[in-house]
């Protein structure tokens, strides 16, 4: 947690969101500092989007405190929104306008003068590589292109804080990598980003710091590296067994690793030296279909915190 008030761009204390009797966000605390990219990692329904919507002044806070750019979303929504860029989970581009008109019109909602709007639209279309599609209707764009246009739109007011709610969900790998590259460039320009995701690789690639959310609460907080160090071993040995091999396994893996996680399709052995552990598996004459030694990832952190895997 950061120290004095004021050096956090977003500050939440006991922030709570309830829909009737259902609690979507349950008294969470976090600080997002200027210039960092801050992640919310968690499965669907963990409360990430509700948190994002409260920050973006799109959803009223039920309880607790929230300040965004030193302002209160309840009373200063307009002022806050003037300085935010929002990339929502589902694209809500203006389908009755062309690609270029989407950017120019959006600028007008921020009272940006027409000439400035046009030159920014030019720059941004180039930035998201849509300059050749400028005159096309939005509906003719692919999913990845729509996403990029939504990002360009979120940047039209030169925001101090940009919120990305699951920026790459539903995109193919190529489109994802292009998007990551653009987000990475924004980060390098010093923008403050808030990113929600249920993809581990995304969080590891893009986030300086993150919180792991599960069931409306924050389960852990830190940089990806810190979280891995704290909640996982350095390496993971992944073993796959045939049905017969698995049946004859009972207890034979005990003592080989600091922790053993049995998933439906594979078994994970948490250890600081994967190769050594694999040798020991072989010494015990345990028949293995395949074995893989890898570095621990945020997936393992999530597994260790909640006992469940993230996607699936």
């Amino acid at each position: 947690m950061s120290g004095a008030t004021g050096d956090a761009l977003v500050r939440a204390r006991k922030l709570t969101k309830r829909f009737g009797s259902f609690t979507a966000v349950d008294a969470v605390d976090f600080d997002v500092r200027p210039g960092e990219s801050f992640g919310f990692l968690g499965p669907n329904g963990a409360g990430k989007t509700s948190t994002m919507r409260m920050i973006a002044c799109a959803s009223p806070v039920t309880d607790g405190e929230l300040s965004v750019i030193d302002m209160n979303p309840q009373t200063q929504a307009r002022e806050i929104k003037a300085r935010l860029g929002v990339v929502p989970q589902t694209d809500n581009l203006d389908t009755e306008l062309t690609v270029r008109e989407n950017l120019e019109m959006y600028a007008r909602y921020f009272d940006i003068p027409g000439s400035v709007a046009r030159s920014r639209a030019d720059e941004l279309l180039e930035f998201v590589q849509l300059d050749e599609r400028a005159k096309d209707q939005v509906e003719t764009l692919s999913g990845g292109m729509k996403r990029r246009l939504t990002i360009a739109r979120a940047l039209i007011n030169e925001p101090d804080l940009i919120i990305f709610d699951e920026p790459t969900t539903g995109l193919d790998p190529q489109a994802r990598h292009l998007l990551w590259d653009r987000l990475y460039r924004l980060k390098q320009r010093g923008a403050t980003l808030i990113i929600t995701t249920h993809y581990m690789d995304e969080a590891e690639q893009l986030c300086d710091r993150l919180v792991v959310m599960d069931k409306a609460r924050i389960a852990a907080e830190g940089s990806p590296r810190e979280l891995i160090d704290r909640y996982s071993t350095k390496e993971v040995l992944e073993l796959r067994f045939g049905d017969a091999e698995r049946a004859g396994l009972d207890g034979r893996l005990e003592g080989l690793a600091q922790r053993v996680e049995v998933l439906p399709d594979r078994t994970l052995l948490y250890t600081d030296d994967g190769e050594k552990t694999l040798d020991e598996v072989h010494q015990r004459n345990i028949a293995v279909q395949s074995a893989l030694v890898r570095r621990a990832s945020l997936e393992d952190v999530f597994l260790s915190l909640t006992g469940r895997s993230l996607v699936e």
Partner: protein, 260 residues
């Protein structure tokens, strides 16, 4: 001051709609044609049979002059209702256009008022073209008619607010049949549009006198034919009250629908 800020900012939504209709201006022109078709088709056709109508002050006027102000009011209603029901429903439920706009400094008030202003602009075009036609055809019988334009816009505002209030209750496209078939259509037929209310039995008369279109027609017809009195004051008061009520409902429903 605050309220004025909202109205001023609402012009952005008008700008947006102008941008959209730059590609489809023909749609707007079709709205101009509608009341003219009615006037020619019904006014002149039926006018051949009916010929004259006796007003409450005893004057006898041509049937066309009797029907024309009613068609003006109806055109204002149709333009406003179609714009606010169909177009707003689409933006609210399918395109999620408003969700995108709400992420900017625009609020629900700006959106609701912006859509109304736009509906009013369309209505102005329809009303002006209809009034010009009425002047040309000699259907304006009184200097009071000078007020017919602002009053028609007020009627359009009332129905735009009604449409906004209604659209936020609709869930599916099939639901459209309810306001269109059960409210707009009967109102069109039973609001003294084509015949004086007195031509109908008492229960229907009572229903007619309760509808906003009846009062709109009564008010506008009073102005163009020169029968201005207590009834028109009642009409205006009724419409003012109805407009305020619908505006409150529209804002509440939009807020419920958009802010979760």
């Amino acid at each position: 001051m605050r309220a004025w800020d909202v109205v001023w900012k609402a012009r952005r939504l008008v700008e947006r709609n102008i941008m959209v209709y730059r590609h489809q201006w023909i749609v707007i022109l079709s709205g101009v044609a509608e009341p003219i078709f009615y006037l020619v088709g019904i006014g002149m056709g039926l006018g051949g049979l009916v010929q004259t109508v006796k007003l409450s002050d005893g004057r006898v006027i041509s049937y066309t002059a009797y029907v024309a102000p009613a068609l003006l009011a109806t055109a204002a209603m149709n333009g406003a209702v179609f714009e606010t029901i169909f177009n707003v429903f689409f933006k609210l439920n399918f395109a999620k256009t408003y969700d995108g706009i709400l992420a900017t400094p625009m609020g629900i008030g700006e959106i609701a008022i912006g859509e109304m202003l736009w509906a009013l602009m369309r209505a102005t075009l329809y009303a002006v073209s209809m009034l010009v036609l009425m002047v040309v055809l000699g259907l304006i019988l009184s200097p009071w008619a000078i007020l017919a334009l602002p009053v028609t816009l007020f009627v359009a505002a009332t129905f735009a607010a009604t449409g906004l209030a209604g659209t936020a209750f609709l869930r599916t496209v099939q639901d459209f049949d309810i306001p269109m078939g059960l409210i707009v259509m009967p109102m069109f037929l039973f609001s003294g549009t084509f015949f004086p209310v007195s031509a109908y039995p008492t229960p229907i008369q009572l229903f007619m006198q309760a509808t906003p279109l009846f009062h709109s027609i009564s008010l506008i017809r009073g102005l163009t034919t020169g029968v201005v009195g207590g009834q028109q004051a009642v009409d205006f008061a009724y419409l003012l009250g109805f407009f305020s009520l619908m505006m409150v409902i529209a804002m509440r429903r939009m807020e419920r629908k958009l802010i979760k």
